[in-house]
Symmetry: C2
DNA sequence: GTCAGAATTCATCATGCGTTGAATTCTACG
DNA sequence: CGTAGAATTCAACGCATGATGAATTCTGAC
């Protein structure tokens, strides 16, 4: 229910030569006159989807520097727009953050692909979906921005938790009918958070450069065990589903 | 290098009542001189280890709000000291951060306890040591401060990587003579980062409240497999070092 | 007892921030 | 055409921040 911009119209032509005499209203103390034609006030013609440009700019800078490190002036500058316009559209910096980080895809969309298939490879599918999501160029800035801000900003922290733990994973764990769903989901979340931080935020090599299909067999089994394994097994036994004496699956 | 002033840096807490009412910042043009001796200039007698108090204050606030969210005035206020004194001792905010986050223990101290014992439980021992470290009250603020700042500040990011991956884990992986030491160390690092973020930064339940000896059998096997397992195994097999080549559950 | 130097505070500075209000120009609708 | 309203900018406010430099007071060595 995103009310989208105020009537975005595509039509853009209107050369409109600068005719407005810049009559300085009050006797300004000493403003450098700067009589270039580009610096005039008022609506600029045909600039297209400005609001969207501001959002893109905000996403990029939030992703790079996190909430605290981002200034509205920088966002405006990158969008080639006056800072006041950012406030005009979004009100406050927090609201700009929320608007820019609104999740671009429906998380539940990927759930069926994860649930389908043999249970003992569910971890691999989660990793594939997770990495595939982060690697989509229109999604990455959003997730990076949230991740970079989550250690400081409570709003971002709530988003982070929502995307990584509360939402899909609780559902998955509950769906599979294992007990301790919350604990298992949190364990999965911890490995996913760590993967995201190591690969995308800290960019640790070599896992920052590996492909999704290389990572899945490495980390997938961890998630599978967290979700389905016999976690009560004594140390020394692997605790893997199938290697435990009793098969808890299904 | 580090001239280190009044010696020891122990002093776990000392904890005055929260939010000491030491306002003393009235911008009123005619400040009532408050004839008590509190408001005078110059050296104050017998105040003891002031530099240490500033460091403790900085650690606490960095831990709570990260580098960006911490102001020198807040640090000074909590230490009941003038902000200029903080600069007098540490020069710049970055140097204060480095001084406050200087690691309070020798990481190599815990290495023997990890290396000793049967290899197939090395992961459990790493978790026990890791959680034990974080749970020590004089260490936690340091690690929290670094973790909270690492997503934004490059200096903190380097510290974080140093503590979690570069230093001990490379050593461990190399020591054990497995190939792909860097990759294995990074995998271990990813799980440790995730555990730290989930348990200490995001405080996700229930793993935020579990004891070290409860967490070790849950997460330890993951690390053991990352360090020693047959990671080239096809998905479906557990890839565990001790687990026999038995097929998946059917 | 003197005096150098350390410890501590005060008073500011310059900057950058988020935010606001009003002015101006363009567009769409009647 | 006229006009209401949206889009955009200008100018500035108020405040918090990191940082400085000088002033003051205490301490310790001689």
């Amino acid at each position: 229910m995103n009310g989208e911009g105020p009537g975005e119209a595509g039509a853009a032509e209107a050369d409109a030569e600068p005719n407005g005499a810049v009559g300085a209203r009050p006797a300004s103390p000493s403003p450098p006159p700067d009589v270039s034609a580009a610096g005039r006030r008022g609506r600029r013609p045909g600039s297209g989807d400005t609001r969207g440009r501001v959002l893109d700019s905000a996403r990029a800078i939030f992703a790079e520097r996190g909430f605290d490190g981002t200034t509205i002036r920088d966002v405006a500058g990158r969008a080639e727009v006056d800072p006041a316009l950012v406030h005009h559209y979004f009100g406050t910096k927090q609201r700009l953050f929320v608007a820019a980080m609104e999740f671009p895809i429906e998380i539940r969309t990927v759930m069926p692909a994860i649930a389908a298939g043999s249970p003992d490879q569910i971890g691999d599918r989660i990793i594939a979906a997770f990495v595939g999501l982060w690697d989509r160029p229109e999604v990455r800035p959003t997730l990076l921005g949230v991740a970079r801000s989550a250690t400081t900003d409570p709003v971002a922290a709530a988003m982070f938790r929502g995307v990584l733990v509360d939402g899909p994973l609780q559902a998955i764990a509950g769906l599979l009918g294992t007990p301790d769903a919350a604990m298992r989901a949190t364990l999965v979340g911890s490995q996913l958070i760590g993967l995201a931080m190591a690969r995308y935020v800290a960019e640790l090599e070599p896992i920052a450069s590996m492909r999704a299909d290389e990572l899945a067999p490495l980390i997938g089994p961890t998630l599978t065990r967290y979700l389905l394994g016999d976690l009560g097994a004594q140390p020394g036994s692997s605790g893997f589903p199938g290697s435990a004496p009793n098969g808890p699956v299904r």
